[in-house]
Amino acid sequence: MHVARLEGLPLFEDLTSEEKAELGALLEPASFGAGTKILEEGAPTGYLYVITSGAVEVSKEVFPGHRQCLAILEKPAIVGEITLINGPRATASVMAQGPVEAWRLSHETFLEKLEAGSLAAYKVAYQIGRILAERMAKTDESIAEIVAQLEKSDRDFEAFRDKLIQEWSF
């Protein structure tokens, strides 16, 4: 039964049935009404959510009072996985678009598993690392494209170009 909770989710695909059962047993059910914030950008969050029914909107505040929608995720989807590794504050807001059913996994419990040397937990952390690395590569390509456009322009874009380059990953 616990194994089924994680079937079909890429984040858990490398796990054996026993490992899925180990982590699946840690999941708790969670429900959200339409418009409820599941994660709030900048606020502490303590859970990873496996969305099993419904859809959620992921957004970030670009200007005060203006949110940019980054994605609409439908089941099966996972949110809150990045904060498992990079700290307690959500980097984006996630809001239920309609009724949402989910399983949630406590970050604290997951980190305890890691500290105890659970291979299942390490496998999940590895998959999150792969997601992060791919996102970093994608962001890098986008910035490279923008910088190239800035270079072509005859306007004084040096300040912007330098700002973008400053934090370039490598």
Partner: protein
Amino acid sequence: MNEDRQRNVDFFQFLSDEERAEFAEAAELVVFAPGENLIEEKAEPSSLFVLTSGKVEVCKRIPGHDDRLLAVLDATNERTVVGERGLLTDSRTSATVRAQVEVEAVKIPRKKFQAMIREGRPAAYKLAYCISRTLTQRLRRLDEQVVETIRELDHRRETDLDAFRDKLMTEWSLL
């Protein structure tokens, strides 16, 4: 590779002696002459290098210009690791890392690392976790920088900047 040598490399301190021994089998000691590339931009995903001596420069190509120098990393002053993203991604490299002087490094070849992951060896997963934590810190900084730049672009309120601002907002990866 000599395990004692590896023990001196801070980067591996999170591993147990047994796990370090596993990496000692996989790792190679490599030396680069001044001007030689450890990593080349737009090449296949790289191996990981922990520099034990010397100095490298990190450069990126800007179309129509000379390479842009992003950083100089000195192994005598700080723990210096390059190419770690290559162990986790299938994407091509995003910058060139070149030796400024003779450089000695411990290399974890990507293929050997991936073989360790396929075999389910905890040491490889622990290294991946350590790399992931480093990547998240960089992503957070990059994320903040993108937000700041978008705000500045908007603040200027110049029509031809809108395209760049919109591009940044559209292409923004979900961090």
